[in-house]
């Protein structure tokens, strides 16, 4: 390097990365999909009968438990 000062960089820059935040990425993929479905539903909320909206809310509710469990796993540093 002709005109740099300071230390010469050492080692490989593109190291393997840590796993710690990997579960959050998985959750991102899942909730990306969920979000798109919810937008399709919310866009025409007024036109959808309440009985059918109930199913969408049930869908959301069902995802609550795995979300909680995934968060618990993700926050447990022993796992990663």
């Amino acid at each position: 390097m002709p005109f740099e000062s300071g230390q010469v960089p050492q080692g490989e820059a593109r190291k393997r990365v840590v796993m710690q935040y990997y579960p959050y990425l998985l959750m991102f993929v899942v909730f990306d999909v969920v979000g798109m479905f919810l937008f399709a539903w919310g866009m025409s909320f007024a036109d959808i009968p309440a009985a059918d909206s109930f199913f969408v809310l049930l869908f959301l509710f069902l995802l609550g438990a795995p979300l909680g469990y995934a968060l618990k796993m993700a926050l447990n540093r022993e796992n990663w």
Binding site: A13, F31, D32, A46
Partner: protein
């Protein structure tokens, strides 16, 4: 539309007709490119000046008089004439290409943002989702750029940026769901029209709070600026960029700041609606400026969080609040509490 010129004498009137046509003006001048660049340059000056005032400094002073308002132009000139250094063993095509792509992606969502009843370039039916789809390309771009620059600080910064943006994108989306349900449309023009009587910040206050916090995190602003934490990571994922590349990235970042503040204006603050003594775009710009100020101010005030806490807060608090907010909105809408405002 205008007919193509046939004789040389027609060329000048043709050019005038094209330049004064509404399409040309919307694309190139007002909600389009020139306006965008001017506002972005203004924002860089505004941020420096505001922060300086908060910290009892003076900030830019000399360039152009009037409190150094031409400072952004001076900065731009300086950066253009500096040498572009490409790190040893960096991935050249990606290292040079990604910043340009970032600017393009930063400018693209402005095509669907309505600055007034007729001041919108493309009135898409899927406007809001379009903005989110484009915005969701940013994290991977940043990660690739960080990888391409073949250096440790950018790589760490890029990873942090990826996780942070990923963590706050979902709460952001889901918080806007209640706005979409209130307006009954994804079309941004219709969303603003639905707010003629009542701004959505009232009925959807919770989602406004979530959206505001999440957008600050998306913008990597303090107190969420871990990806470019200066004491630890030099400048985060754009450490290795220099000269013109740095300028281009900087431009993209400020475009994103402007995008987020105008999105908040559109979704929660009633867009262009305001008392009629000022034209619609002026109201819009004023509101966006106020929001930008609110986003900038914490930078002068707060310290930053730790990265794992940051991500934890995003997923455990904001996401849960956003999901709960969906149920609240359903309850509000189906009990008809909001019918007084015609919702």
């Amino acid at each position: 539309m205008v007919n193509l010129p046939t004789t040389p004498a027609d060329i000048l009137p043709f050019i005038i007709a094209v330049v004064t046509s509404h399409t040309f003006i919307t694309i190139v001048i007002f909600p389009g490119l020139i306006h965008l660049i001017v506002v972005v340059m203004f924002l860089t000056w505004y941020e420096r000046k505001l922060l300086a005032r908060i910290q009892l400094r003076i900030g830019p002073l000399y360039a152009g008089g009037l409190g150094g308002i031409l400072q952004p132009i001076a900065d731009g000139m300086k950066l253009i004439f500096k040498e572009v250094m490409i790190p040893y063993k960096a991935d050249k095509p990606l290292f040079l290409g990604i910043p340009l792509a970032l600017v393009f992606l930063g400018a693209l969502p402005f095509a669907v943002i309505p600055f007034g009843q007729h001041w919108v370039i493309a009135n898409l039916d899927v406007g809001l989702v379009f903005v989110f789809a484009v915005a969701s390309l940013f994290p991977s771009m940043i990660l690739i750029f960080a990888w391409a620059s073949n250096s440790k600080y950018p790589f760490l910064g890029g990873l942090r940026s990826l996780f942070q943006q990923v963590a706050y994108e979902i709460p952001m989306w889901i918080s806007t769901l209640s706005v979409v349900m209130l307006a009954g449309s994804l079309n941004l023009v219709q969303i603003v029209n639905a707010q003629q009587k009542m701004w959505f910040i009232g009925p959807a206050f919770l989602s406004f709070v979530v959206f505001f916090i999440a957008s600050m995190a998306e913008l990597e602003r303090l107190p969420f600026d871990l990806p470019s934490a200066e004491p630890e990571l030099v400048a985060g994922w754009f450490t290795e960029s220099s000269g013109a590349i740095f300028m281009v990235i900087f431009l993209a970042l400020y475009m994103k700041l402007y995008l987020m503040s105008s999105l908040i204006t559109v979704l929660f603050l009633g867009g262009w609606w305001g008392p009629a003594f000022l034209p619609q775009p002026v109201w819009f710009l004023l509101k966006a400026l106020v929001v930008a100020t609110l986003i900038i101010i914490p930078r002068g005030v707060y310290a930053r969080l730790r990265v794992d806490l940051l991500i934890k807060v995003g997923w455990t608090r904001l996401l849960v609040i956003a999901l709960a907010n969906v149920f609240i909105t359903v309850a509000l809408l189906s009990t008809g509490v909001l019918s007084a405002w015609g919702l």
